[in-house]
């Protein structure tokens, strides 16, 4: 228990939760439920990976939900009104998102402003821009969309591992490699530990900040594309509040909100726990969906309190250890 990392606790919560659901509903433990869990939360998983990087670096990105909404509208209009091939539209929106994220990162670094308020402005801007493009839901009927939604790996037991679930798993895997095995990832942890120290070590803090927010916005754009696959439409009000869901997923996944500690795998588990609560409510049928919010809030509090307790223990243990080493 002494050295149990937060991720292990998250995994335990997920396993225990899944077991409890299975006890109550014997049909729960099927590949169908598991595959749906991945499909329904694919966009949240992708955007939460980006949020993990931002939060570990000590920042926060409130604009992701709006960027998803913007992306779905942009893609729908580009394909349906302008007649662009879907892949060209995807490339265009990802470039646009990269520029948007880079701009936010640059403002945060150059003007030394709190990320919270800069990305808040970004949130207004992206949502407002998508409203200006269209306030109606635009259905997408490109052939690529039906191909993608028809594609699925059949699992034993009748589950369908859909294309968007596979995209999400690929993003999680790539994110984990980028965070845990590259210099970029190490720098992200360093930034979250201490900005000043990182700068003194010679790491370019400015370009790191720009690249981290760029990554978050690009992943939000990708999540928007996945969301448009999921709903086959573009709507300016889609994904309202997703920034909160993804922050909650990251925190429940054991990432320290003060930065410097966390993992991508934990975030995936955090997303799945939220999906599990939603699935349980669907299975139950009598509970209303607002219980998802309450249970998520309770879990959020439990994990934050846990982090706080662990930090407190670490602080108290710190000087004592130094005392032991010194003589």
């Amino acid at each position: 228990m002494r050295r149990l990392p937060p991720v292990a606790i998250t995994a335990m919560v997920f396993v225990v939760g899944f077991a409890l659901c299975t006890v109550q509903f014997p049909n729960f433990a099927s590949s169908r439920v598991a595959a749906n869990l991945l499909t329904d939360n694919a966009f949240l998983g992708i955007v939460a990976v980006g949020m993990t990087f931002v939060i570990i670096s000590g920042g926060i990105d409130l604009s992701v939900g709006s960027v998803i909404g913007f992306t779905t509208v942009f893609v729908a209009l580009a394909i349906e009104r302008l007649g662009l091939p879907p892949l060209v539209a995807f490339a265009a929106i990802l470039l646009l998102c990269a520029a948007f994220g880079a701009a936010m990162g640059a403002v945060i670094h150059v003007f030394d402003m709190p990320p919270f308020i800069v990305t808040l402005a970004g949130m207004f801007l992206a949502r407002g821009a998508s409203f200006l493009m269209s306030t109606e839901s635009t259905p997408i009927s490109a052939p690529l969309y039906s191909t993608v939604s028809d594609f699925a790996l059949r699992l034993p037991g009748g589950g369908r591992l859909t294309a968007i679930a596979l995209i999400m798993l690929a993003v999680v895997a790539a994110g984990a490699v980028l965070l845990h095995f590259t210099r970029f990832g190490a720098n992200v942890y360093a930034l979250g530990g201490s900005r000043t120290t990182t700068a003194l070590m010679g790491i370019p803090v400015g370009s790191m900040t720009v690249r981290i927010y760029m990554l978050s916005s690009v992943l939000a754009g990708l999540a928007g594309i996945v969301f448009s696959f999921y709903t086959a439409a573009g709507y300016s009000l889609s994904a309202v509040g997703v920034e909160l869901d993804s922050i909650a997923a990251v925190v429940i996944g054991g990432t320290l909100l003060t930065g410097g500690q966390g993992s991508v795998v934990g975030t995936l588990l955090g997303v799945l726990i939220q999906g599990l609560i939603q699935t349980y409510i669907n299975f139950d049928g009598t509970l209303s969906s607002w219980w998802t919010k309450i249970v998520t809030g309770i879990l959020l509090f439990a994990f934050i309190a846990l982090q706080q307790a662990m930090l407190g223990i670490a602080r108290r243990a710190g000087p004592r250890k130094a005392g032991v080493l010194k003589p």
Binding site: F111, D112, Q308
Partner: protein
């Protein structure tokens, strides 16, 4: 000369408000027209005050929280909770009990936030995020997912009535402003709050009970949010747990920031936060009157946030100083 003028506190905000009102007047020629009907004043100007009341109330609590270097993201959710409580109790239990229960709930929410920040030492953004996520669920639980409507005339009066022609919400805001101002500026309390935000550790060492101070501002913020929720519910004669106070936390923060209170804590101005709330509402009303789609609002707000923040940024000030020196 110009820069010295702009540096005097509050002038920039008041000029901004006047400019926006002038633009509104240009857009809609009858903007400043007032008329009396059924013992209540009507007109676009009154409308700005009336519609701006909930955000003004939120800003009144938020400004103290931000002065301690905190932030309260949960005010929108608290509005939904208190509105739901007031609407469900008003018809059956009478106004005093409904009001007491709604405000009591706000007090409890504030106490919870304050406990997390002051006692457990959690960063304010995170601590209040919990209630922001869960609070709307709690409000849904109270209304059982429906939009609760009521007809109790005394509660409806709080949203639609008038005192000497002035709409009741505006009177409530004025009352709260006077009470808050008298408490924090009439005593050393405001100074102690500013000290806490400036440097919590130094303040603690200087003998200020920073924990109590932080707890108190979050409780006050919760109370103001609850009052805003009651007024918003009274205005539409119903409580909608999904949409009551949605995104208003952002407007409240924006109002405080426009009012020149730094997000880094350490100083605040109640009156300028009110001016900030009026600027936001005057902008909203202006966009509505001009016939632009209301969606335009968000883009304009984003631009305003960025400009105000750039002006507040220490780096930006440095750039100004360098430019000034170069000119000399």
């Amino acid at each position: 000369m110009m820069s010295r003028l702009l540096q005097s506190r509050g002038l920039a905000q008041i000029i901004a408000l006047l400019v926006i009102l002038a633009v509104d007047r240009a857009v809609s020629p009858q903007f400043f027209d007032l008329r009396m009907q059924d013992g209540r004043l009507f007109g676009s100007l009154i409308d700005v005050l009336n519609r701006g009341a909930p955000v003004a109330l939120l800003a009144l609590g938020m400004v103290l929280v931000i002065a301690t270097r905190g932030i309260d993201l949960s005010v929108g959710a608290v509005m939904a909770i208190s509105g739901a409580i007031a609407a469900s109790l008003a018809d059956t239990h009478g106004l005093p009990l409904a009001l007491a229960a709604a405000l009591g709930a706000g007090l409890l929410c504030g106490l919870w936030n304050g406990f997390l920040v002051a006692v457990l030492g959690i960063q304010p953004i995170v601590a209040t995020l919990i209630l922001m996520v869960a609070g709307r669920g709690v409000a849904q639980l109270i209304t059982e997912g429906r939009i609760v409507t009521f007809t109790a005339p005394d509660l409806v009066w709080l949203g639609n009535g008038a005192v000497l022609g002035v709409p009741a919400p505006v009177v409530v805001v004025l009352g709260m402003l006077i009470v808050t101002g008298a408490v924090v500026r009439g005593s050393a309390l405001g100074l102690l709050i500013e000290a806490t935000g400036g440097n919590a550790r130094a303040s603690e060492l200087a003998g200020i009970g920073t924990r109590g101070m932080i707890l108190a501002v979050y409780v006050w913020c919760g109370l103001c949010a609850a009052l805003a929720g009651v007024i918003a519910a009274a205005d539409i004669m119903g409580a909608d747990a999904n949409n009551a106070g949605l995104w208003l936390e952002l407007d409240a923060i924006l109002a405080v920031v426009i009012g020149g209170t730094s997000l880094f804590g350490g100083r605040f101005s109640l009156v300028l936060a009110m001016v900030g709330a009026l600027i936001i509402q005057a902008m909203n009303t202006g966009i509505l009157l001009s016939g632009y789609p209301p969606e335009f609002n968000l883009v304009v707000k984003a631009a305003v946030v960025l400009v105000v923040l750039l002006l507040q940024s220490p780096r930006f000030a440095n750039v100004g100083v360098v430019l000034g020196r170069a000119r000399q």
